[in-house]
């Protein structure tokens, strides 16, 4: 009997009911008896020597319990510097600044009070003597010979970098025409709707920490390093997370500070970040540009790439370190194209801005922008159709599997298929939209298909210098046949509990609603690295598949015994087992589980009691360090997509509005189309924000100018158009279930797609190429005015 498969079916999410009913439990909802509130006092100076901090007046404020500075944290160790390799400069991070501040937002003191109102009163009464130094606010300033040094013991402001050289690349540039550009992506970031938050209590020699983090076990590791407690004395619990997007895949000073306070004061302490704090002290991202050149054949084929990615890593005070996305940018430039040779280096510098760190896409959106812009320039300069340039470089089925010039192993995909479908979709849609706006003389409509590849399920070693790629899952069947799945990956909206329940149900024939997924608790989940890098589904399902296999095999032994049949003759059917093709022989999982757990006297000889298994999984094919030639395959899977924005540009105001967003996407096997499309849509919305308006502005003194949602604009329902998604499924040949990961994919494409669409819309004006984001009205107007001056 064939069971209807749940794979590819729309399974309603198991997470939704409680979230819709106001029953979600986020960090700010946590209450502990006698709990105190902490308010962090932050530097208002971008760069300076930290002198005396006056806290006496704050201590006298009504409701304030105590105030602490770095001087008090004598028993706290700085964050371990796993990267202490020759190529990365040492950065010592301490929960409260000791002697120097490097960005506005640096934690310098903490006020503990009865409630947050009183804590903020206290924070207002803390005065810090900071001897201001000149602020470094850009890559150019950081690299200037007379630049102020953020770290006086470094020779310059370079955090890390490398400059590869290749005789083959140089030969290609000797031989072929060279087309070059500088393409940049502004500073913006994850900005989840829920800010960060940490709570802690210390009872009976054990520390319990609640944190809105994407990696509970890594947070526990870091707490152990910084507070000197054994891992067994620390429990990290992650409540519901109100969005993470990488911003919460960082370990922050407050995650050590608040637990230290709870230990010091012997009372529970909570800190909930406010939005201003979030915008200045949680990691930023992007803020990078590339000087890139291509050696090209006359028909548009690209023979080699050469250049450097320059990244402003902010103050550098981040764990994991903030330089890593720039390395990803350099490595991901090739995308879906077969470019035989590349030598692209990185220069990552520190500046007096908020530390850079993770944000969904992690360097790949920058890479896609640089590459797609460069290809459009190649097309323009050679006079070859931009679609044909892509066709001549795109990976075709016959090319796969393909190892590209930096070592990325693209084992499967639908690069050409997706692109040709997108050309078809975009051509039809733009014609319809042009018709619609034909009568408006101020409006121009355009579109332009672009491509990307997103590497997912990566090694964490290049980013952290410590953790790698493994994860685990345990599965326990209760005596009544219900299931508890316990994992270290972390939900933050992506429906992981639904996905894992679906896979367990698919494998065992149990009902989705009979599966409980436990996560975000280091006491009750096996070790793992959490959710980031589009890895959640892949690593947890890989581990789950192993645990499921053990349960299924053991269950079939017990079922066979109960049915007096050979286990080999059984099949899994809804709710249990039966002899193949014989519904009368059914035995339920409940009977099997009761036998395994309670009526153990009925177990077959040699079968131990219990129905529980743990699976450990390390995704295959990943390199953790580069080989002798500097090449590595950092990811277990590479999704591909082609996409196009249909834009409407007002030539009088420069305003760009998206009319439609089209995407043909291939992330391998689709487990739940509802969730996959939700991930893609959400990523696209964030990508649109980054392409058009999201930006952390700073003035020349390093003062942040985007400290509220009045200054930092997030896309609303009127900026994000209807998104048309078509899914192609080219299963991963190596990963369990064939899924390739989808968390980050959508965000990669919007910037290059919108830039190219705006140029298409304005083709008649002969504007110069759009080379950076955000593509704001002044930028568009400037391009139009410059073009008018030239003509």
């Amino acid at each position: 009997m064939m069971r209807p498969s749940l794979i590819g079916a729309v399974v309603p999410r198991v997470e939704d009911d409680r979230l819709l009913d106001g029953q979600g439990s986020y960090i700010a909802d946590l209450k502990r008896p006698d709990m105190l509130e902490a308010v962090v006092v932050r530097s208002q100076v971008a760069h300076g020597i930290l002198g005396e901090i006056e806290v006496d007046e704050a201590r006298r404020v009504e409701g304030v319990v105590d105030v602490f500075t770095a001087k008090d944290l004598v028993d706290v160790s700085p964050f371990p510097d796993f990267h202490a390799a020759e190529f990365v400069k040492p950065v010592k991070i301490f929960p409260l600044a000791k002697d120097r501040v490097r960005f506005v937002g640096t934690p310098i003191a903490v006020v503990v009070a009865g409630n947050r109102y009183q804590g903020e009163d206290g924070a207002d009464a803390v005065f810090a003597d900071i001897d201001a130094l000149s602020a470094v606010t850009s890559v150019e300033e950081a690299l200037a010979p007379e630049a102020e040094l953020l770290y006086p013991d470094w020779p310059d402001n370079r955090l890390t970098g490398f400059a590869p050289s290749s005789a083959e690349v140089d030969a290609a540039f000797e031989k072929h025409r060279v087309i070059s550009g500088r393409y940049g992506f502004q500073r913006h970031g994850g900005v989840p709707m829920e800010t960060r938050g940490v709570a802690a209590e210390f009872t009976d020699g054990r520390l319990t920490v609640w944190s809105s983090t994407q990696f509970a076990h890594i947070a526990r590791d870091m707490l152990s390093y910084t507070l000197g407690l054994p891992l067994s004395a620390i429990r990290v619990i992650v409540p519901d997370i109100g969005g993470g997007f990488g911003m919460k895949a960082q370990f922050y000073p407050e995650e050590t500070l608040i637990p230290w306070l709870a230990m010091k004061l012997g009372r529970p302490v909570r800190w909930i970040e406010d939005r201003r704090e979030n915008l200045v002290s949680a990691v930023h991202a992007r803020d990078a540009y590339a000087d890139i050149e291509a050696a090209v054949h006359a028909d548009g084929r690209i023979e080699a790439l050469r250049g450097t990615v320059y990244q402003d890593a902010g103050s550098g005070e981040a764990v994991p370190a903030g330089f890593s996305p720039a390395f990803v940018t350099a490595a991901a430039l090739g995308g879906p194209y077969k470019i035989p040779f590349a030598a692209v280096g990185v220069t990552s510098v520190v500046t007096n801005k908020t530390p850079s760190g993770a944000y969904r896409g992690f360097g790949t959106p920058e890479a896609a922008f640089v590459m797609e812009r460069l290809i459009d320039k190649v097309a323009a300069e050679l006079g070859v159709d931009r679609l044909d340039v892509r066709r001549r470089n795109l990976l075709e089925q016959a090319d796969l599997p393909y190892t590209n010039s930096v070592g990325s192993y693209i084992d499967s995909g639908s690069h050409t298929l997706a692109f040709e479908r997108m050309v078809e979709l975009a051509t039809a849609k733009v014609a319809e939209r042009r018709q619609q706006f034909a009568d408006d003389s101020n409006i121009r409509v355009g579109t332009a298909p672009t491509n990307y590849v997103e590497g997912g399920t990566p090694s964490y070693f290049p980013t952290t210098g410590q953790w790698a790629s493994n994860d685990s899952a345990s599965l326990r069947m209760n005596p009544d046949g219900t299931i508890v799945i316990s994992v270290a990956v972390q939900a933050m909206g992506q429906g992981l509990a639904s996905m894992l329940s679906t896979l367990a149900a698919e494998s065992l024939g149990v009902a989705v609603e009979d599966c409980l997924v436990v996560m975000g608790d280091t006491d009750t989940t096996p070790y793992g690295l959490g959710s980031w890098g589009s890895r959640g589904t892949n690593v947890s399902s890989g581990a789950l598949e192993k645990a499921v296999a053990v349960i299924r095999d053991k269950g079939s032994l017990i079922a066979g015994h109960l049915l007096e049949a050979s286990p080999e003759d059984l099949e899994v059917v809804p709710g249990g087992f039966q002899v193949v093709g014989s519904p009368d022989s059914f035995v339920s999982w409940k009977d099997v589980a009761t036998t395994a757990n309670i009526h153990v006297m009925n177990l077959p000889d040699g079968v131990e009691p219990g129905l529980e298994a743990i699976g450990f999984y390390d995704p295959p094919g990943i390199d953790h360090v580069p080989d002798a030639e500097g090449k590595m395959n950092a990811c277990a899977a590479y999704t591909n997509a082609s996409q196009a924005a249909v834009v409407k540009v007002d030539v009088k105001t420069g305003h760009v509005q998206l009319l439609d967003y089209l995407i043909v996407h291939d992330c391998g096997t689709v487990i739940n189309p509802l969730i996959v499309e939700g991930q893609i849509s959400g990523g696209i919305a964030q990508g649109i924000g980054g392409a058009l308006f999201e930006e952390f502005h700073y003035d020349e003194f390093g003062n942040p100018q985007s400290t509220s949602f009045l200054d930092y604009h997030l896309p609303s329902a009127t900026e994000v158009p209807a998104i048309h998604i078509e899914l192609i499924e080219t299963p991963s040949p190596t990963l369990p279930w064939g899924a390739k990961g989808v968390g980050e994919a959508g965000i990669v494409g919007p910037a290059p797609a919108i830039a190219a669409a705006v140029e298409d819309a304005l083709a008649e004006f002969g504007i110069a190429q759009i080379t950076s984001t955000p593509i704001s009205p002044p930028v568009v107007l400037g391009l139009l005015q410059d073009a008018a001056k030239r003509s």
Binding site: P12, R13, E15, D16, D17, L19, L20, D21, G22, Q23, G24, S25, Y26, A28, D29, E62, N115, R116, Y117, V191, P192, M193, E194, T195, D240, I241, G242, G243, F245, D274, R275, M492, G493, Q494, G495, L674, I675, E677, G678, S681, G682, G683, I684, A685, Q686, S708, F709, L710, L714, P715, S716, A717, T718, V720, A722, I723, G746
Partner: protein, 162 residues
């Protein structure tokens, strides 16, 4: 209205919250969101920005959507407040909540109560088409979904063609 001299002065209030009568004394500076969350334990109302932009804290006051992060608790004196906890009255999901579930109109769920309250407080006939529905939703920010599922949920519950 009399000027408040002391932000910590105790102020009495009497109101209806989710159908129940509430009497309390609050500091005059206490925000409505904090009163609902901390004093009444109604933590379904979420704080996303605390400056009135993101809409996560939206509740209904006398039937109209308001931002509870920029309203003082004392301002609900004599008024009727409904929070997300007051929608379903413990009888399973409402049609609107079910529509959000059916259309994947939520992911992390943090902004969701604010959307539900905004939609609950508007007149469907004021928003006759997709563009105007998007305008209506534009005061609430969702960072996860890209809005398509939310628009579809509104259309489902308002009986519009999907």
């Amino acid at each position: 209205m009399r000027a408040i001299q002391d932000p910590t002065a105790e102020t009495p209030l009497q109101a209806t919250v989710n159908g129940a009568s509430v009497e309390a004394t609050v500091e005059s500076r206490m925000l409505l969101a904090d009163f609902l969350r901390e004093d009444l334990g109604l933590t379904g109302t979420h704080l996303g920005c605390e400056h009135g932009v993101c809409g996560a804290c939206t509740v209904l006051v006398d039937g109209a959507p308001v931002r509870s992060c920029i309203m003082f608790a004392s301002q609900i004196d004599g008024r009727d407040v409904v929070t997300v906890e007051g929608l379903s009255e413990g009888e399973g999901l409402t049609d609107l909540q079910q529509a959000f579930k059916d259309n994947h109109g939520l992911q992390c769920g943090f902004c969701t109560p604010g959307f539900l309250m905004t939609i609950s407080g508007v007149e469907p006939s004021d928003y006759p088409d997709d563009d105007s529905i998007r305008e209506m939703l534009s005061g609430n920010i969702c960072r996860c979904t890209g809005y398509g599922g939310i628009v579809d949920a509104v259309k489902q519950v308002w009986g519009r063609a999907q």
